[in-house]
């Protein structure tokens, strides 16, 4: 989240899209309810009418996979309305804090759904050049926003195609409802009004999921909603510590602190930094003239990370052990789907699964389960036996034919171990151990520690093994009894000259005198305040009590609760919203009060020339990007159909699918709308968790939701002779599943592209393990992923349904 949970109560309008917050983040609804008690309006955009929709002032039905059309239409609405009623919008914000005014390369083209030439599933380097600013170092800007090549005008031209009829024909939303949404949400474009977007997997789990989020960014920037209280783009993270795990960068393309993973061609640290560290871009013609380009500190964070890992062994002479880091092949996709594709091809010998259940949670379950059979060995660390650890004896297979050796390491659940959990709002809250884990269960931390100590031992004994030094040189000094506290301090980092804990990432150096396991978390654990994740002071000390609770736990970066908050004040440092300022009083107090400012510099108009710092410090140009040229599939979100779509054609252009989507090949059959006319979408219910391993063995939860079910509308059910409660089979090109049918008025057929389409809602909590069992919804999902991140397209595919009788 750019903001945080409590801040939702400050919103004047909340749009929940790609999320079913009331069901899947019920506690969040405390804050939504508070906002509504203050008069905020709630909009829910979703293919289904859910418990969230039940509370919404406006429920807008949306065909699964058409978010870009929906938001694009809203962008069009704003851009048109801005012409008539500029006073309804914060034009100063748009001109000064975004790249709206920036002049783009005049070679930019957009034709028939493509932003240039595509070759082999990628835009060519030449095409990508045309997406950049005309001047990539000191871009010219047109504050009048009239230059036909400025980002604003290109945006306008692009989204002028997203008129009401076209959009509603694609999304299936009734026009009057759609206009209601536009009017209501876009009213937050006024100075002093804030709208927030709460989103989750419904947004991200598409082949263009990243562009979905980009669309929200454009919308929120046009409305001046970034950096302000009650605004922001707020991802509702899917599990209690996925934020922590992404911050620690347990992902294939990043190192802790969102540092890029080195590639094959990064022969040394310098080469690496040259590739990844962005050069500062200084815009010409805006009032702000200095970009902090915070990522220019890349080297400091990288070196500090290497010092944390390799300690004394990392010196200037050996590039701080940079070459010990594994390097990726640029052509290879190491993500979940990519990994399972490789596994399917027999390229992976062993897999270690920690607290995850790919056999039920990964897309295309039949394919992924088969792929697991190609492994020589599999280790599963979990608190229960699950579909992954039991894949070799799943229904329909003959165990003796599977040659994978499976090891199970019992783990500890969250109450049985100590450590921090980082919530969606980036708050790291320390948790304590309440009970001992049962049996031989051990916290992941201890398991990892013992494994590492053993690996060190083995590698020490055999120094000829490849990359031995990468292991033996590691500064792994926790001893046999590792503590979360020791690791937390390591993550924070040290001033190596004094041996004291590092105060903040602003004090990290690139010369090896500091260490930090994750620069973002530097400042969490200091000499002065100790482990700030343990703080529990529930006083809202902000002058306007906007709910920051800055003394409760600690958030990154530097306990800044609302990031980009310098965009919440005007060029003179006066908050746009007098009642809910985030930072304030610079002029009276000679420093910012309220939240930790996103850079403590004076307001732009008061700063000296060349020191007028722009607010969006993580961007090389210091302003937020309406125009986002660094995504692989285009600088602007554009409507594409999902990989399996009920429509034969993209109603917006001649390009049917996102040209850069990752399409898996392993057992990834593709269906057509003739065989499988209905739109399937997978999701979760309140009562169960992820693949259900934790909840399908808890009697109270099983009592609430005892069986695998699917949801459908009454018309479709009537057609198929299905009554609510009947057993049905949902099938598609990749498999079939059996479930109980919940026939409901909350699903409605939609008129899309001249066709009537039906959604079939499929829960993904079930599998063949656990106390109660059922078929996994993911048997139906495709092995295809987002163009930028390869997140699987769980949310929209084709299927058919029939009675099981």
């Amino acid at each position: 989240m750019t903001n945080h949970w409590i801040d939702i109560r400050n919103a004047d309008c909340i749009m929940i899209i790609g999320s079913n917050a009331a069901e899947n983040h019920p506690i969040s609804f405390k804050w939504v309810t508070r906002a509504m008690e203050r008069g905020a309006r709630l909009i829910h955009v979703d293919p289904r009418f859910t418990r969230t929709s039940s509370k919404a002032d406006i429920y807008a039905p949306l065909r699964s996979g058409t978010d870009i059309a929906f938001i694009g239409g809203m962008i069009n609405y704003i851009l048109n309305d801005m012409e008539q009623n500029p006073e309804n919008y914060n034009m100063e914000y748009i001109k000064q804090y975004t790249n709206a005014a920036f002049v783009v390369n005049r070679g930019f083209t957009f034709k028939d759904g493509l932003f240039g030439e595509v070759s082999d599933g990628k835009y060519t380097a030449t095409a990508k050049e045309t997406w950049k600013y005309a001047d990539t170092e000191t871009p010219a800007t047109d504050p009048s926003l009239t230059d036909p090549n400025c980002a604003f005008q290109l945006l306008k031209k692009h989204y002028s195609r997203y008129d009401l009829d076209t959009v509603c024909n694609i999304t299936g939303t009734p026009k009057d409802v759609y206009l209601d949404v536009c009017r209501t949400f876009c009213a937050t474009g006024q100075k002093g009004k804030a709208g927030t977007i709460m989103y989750a997997m419904g947004t991200t789990q598409h082949t263009y999921g990243t562009q979905n989020v980009r669309a929200y960014a454009i919308l929120q920037l046009l409305l001046g909603n970034m950096g302000v209280a009650g605004g922001g783009i707020n991802a509702l993270r899917g599990t209690s510590n996925v934020q922590g795990s992404t911050d620690m960068c347990l992902l294939s393309h990043i190192l802790p602190g969102y540092l890029a993973v080195p590639q094959e061609a990064d022969a040394d640290l310098e080469t690496y930094l040259k590739r990844v560290c962005p050069s500062t871009i200084t815009p010409k013609g805006l009032t702000g003239d200095k970009s902090a380009n915070w990522w220019s500190n890349y080297k400091k964070y990288t070196v500090s990370l290497l010092k944390a890992w390799y300690g004394g062994a990392a010196t200037r002479d050996n590039d701080f052990c940079f070459n010990y880091l594994p390097k990726c092949d640029p052509g290879v996709n190491y993500t979940h789907i990519g990994m399972f594709e490789a596994m399917g091809q027999g390229k992976i010998k062993g897999l270690w699964v920690w607290g995850q259940n790919p056999a039920a949670g990964g897309p295309n379950s039949n394919g992924e389960r088969e792929a697991l059979g190609n492994l020589d060995w599999l280790v599963v660390t979990d608190i229960w036996m699950n579909e992954t650890s039991e894949f070799w004896k799943r229904p329909g297979v003959n165990p003796p034919e599977i040659n994978t050796e499976v090891f199970v390491l019992p783990a500890a659940c969250s109450y049985e171990k100590e450590g921090s959990i980082s919530n969606s709002g980036r708050w790291a809250q320390w948790r304590y151990k309440a009970v001992e884990p049962p049996g031989e269960g051990m916290p992941d931390l201890e398991i990892m520690n013992l494994i590492m100590l053993k690996l060190k031992e083995l590698y020490q004994a055999d120094s000829s093994a490849p990359q031995a030094e990468a292991i033996t040189s590691l500064d792994w000094n926790y001893g046999v009894h590792i503590t979360a506290d020791a690791v937390a301090r390591e993550i924070n980092g040290y001033d190596l000259t004094t041996g004291e804990l590092a105060e903040s990432f602003a004090k990290l150096n690139d010369d090896g005198t500091t260490s930090s396991g994750n620069w973002l978390y530097c400042n969490m654990y200091t000499e002065a305040d100790g482990n700030k994740a343990k703080k529990r002071n529930n006083v809202d000390s902000h002058p306007n009590r906007i709910g920051l609770y800055s003394d409760w736990a600690w958030c990154w970066p530097l306990n800044r609760r609302i990031i980009y908050n310098r965009a919440s004040v005007d060029l003179d440092g006066v908050p746009w919203d007098k009642e809910h300022p985030v930072i304030l009083n610079y002029n009276t107090a000679a420093k910012w009060q309220g939240d930790v400012p996103d850079g403590g510099w004076p307001p732009i108009n008061q700063a000296k020339d060349s020191e007028k710092y722009l607010p969006f410090i993580m961007k090389p140009e210091g302003v937020a990007r309406l125009w986002g040229y660094e995504r692989v599939d285009g600088p602007l979100p554009e409507v594409y159909e999902p990989w399996e779509s009920p429509l034969d054609k993209n109603l917006m252009s001649g390009t049917r699918n996102d040209p850069c989507a990752f399409i898996g090949k392993y057992r990834n059959e593709r269906g057509t709308s003739d065989q499988f006319p209905h739109v399937g979408t997978t999701y979760r219910c309140t009562e169960h968790w992820q693949t259900g391993i934790m909840t399908r063995s808890l009697p109270w939860l099983v009592e609430l939701m005892p069986e695998m079910y699917v949801e459908m509308d009454e018309e479709l059910a009537d057609e198929k002779g299905i009554k609510s409660g009947d057993s049905v089979i949902v099938s598609n090109a990749r498999g079939e599943i059996k479930a109980v049918a919940v026939v409901t008025q909350r699903f409605q057929p939609m008129k899309v592209g001249g066709k009537t389409i039906h959604h079939i809602g499929i829960l993904n909590h079930w599998g063949y393990s656990g106390m109660t069992r059922g078929d996994s919804g993911n048997i139906l999902t495709p092995h295809v992923g987002d163009a930028n991140t390869t997140i699987p397209e769980y949310k929209t595919f084709l299927c058919n349904v029939r009675s099981a009788k």
């Binding site: 019920p26 309810t33 418990r51 109270w700 009592e703 609430l704 939701m705 109980v740």
Partner: protein, 266 residues
């Protein structure tokens, strides 16, 4: 003073944390259930489920679909039928609000179950030593200064605990503050003579599955009938004694006359 709970259906998201909290606090086992084509489970309250959420898909009268939830549990009435019904006084309305059940007295006649206009008390049909079971209003938690488990856990504040009079005032304020949002009625204010569980709803209360009850306590006629017992007892005893005495006297008179006749005829 009498405590109450206000349930605001416009804030309830049907998450059922309350159902789980109640199970956890009262150490109740889970029931075996199946999916009958709805989210709702268990299908009814029982000796093992003291509270549950009902899922209502409702037409709001303008063709718009509403998805509204009802929390069902003992209403802790002001004039409880179960309290009047129980022959041994196992059920009592306490001054703090909860209608409590004392299994030291109960012998399982189940009159309370038949009497309750809300159909609440449940019975342990599967146990050889069965008791009546129902929501306790967490009287034990209240005794410790805590709020009921369901109220404490509710994430949105759809449940609010407090003094009955204050909650009624707040409920009225909520209705007035948002015209058109609520049905202009606080269910439980007067139903069955008033209950400790108050409801606000955006749709007619029948759509929530709450029974349409008069504001007269169901105990009214019973009280009249029981009030007649002492006079009836005395009256019948007196009447019967009187008749007996009169009849006896008439017979004796009759016998004397016969004797007289016999003597005269002798």
């Amino acid at each position: 003073m009498s405590k109450a709970v206000l349930y605001d259906a416009t804030k309830c998201i049907g998450c059922r944390a309350c159902q789980i909290a109640c199970k956890q606090w009262n150490d109740l086992p889970a029931e075996m259930t199946t999916n009958g084509g709805t989210y709702e489970n268990p299908p009814k309250l029982s000796a093992y489920t003291f509270t549950k959420i009902r899922f209502n898909e409702v037409d709001d009268g303008n063709g718009k679909l509403r998805f509204v939830f009802t929390k069902l549990q003992c209403m802790h009435c002001e004039h409880p039928a179960c309290v009047a019904a129980c022959p041994v006084g196992a059920l009592q309305k306490t001054p703090n609000g909860p209608v409590t059940y004392d299994d030291n007295k109960c012998f399982g006649c189940r009159y309370c179950m038949v009497a309750c206009p809300f159909g609440i008390p449940s019975f342990e049909w599967d146990k050889p030593l069965p008791w009546i079971r129902k929501c306790t209003f967490c009287a034990d938690r209240q005794g410790g200064g805590l709020e009921p488990a369901c109220v404490t856990t509710c994430p949105t504040g759809a449940l609010k605990f407090g003094e009955r009079e204050e909650l009624l005032i707040e409920a009225r304020e909520r209705i007035t503050a948002s015209p058109g949002k609520y049905i202009n009625h606080i269910y439980g204010e007067n139903e069955a003579g008033g209950t400790s569980c108050l409801y606000l709803s955006p749709v007619p209360f029948e759509k929530l599955g709450l029974p349409n009850l008069s504001s007269e306590p169901v105990t009214v006629n019973v009280e009249r009938a029981m009030g007649a017992v002492p006079p009836v007892l005395l009256g019948v005893a007196a009447a019967m004694s009187g008749v007996y005495w009169l009849v006896k006297r008439r017979d004796r008179m009759g016998c004397e006359k016969v004797n007289e006749k016999e003597e005269v005829s002798k």
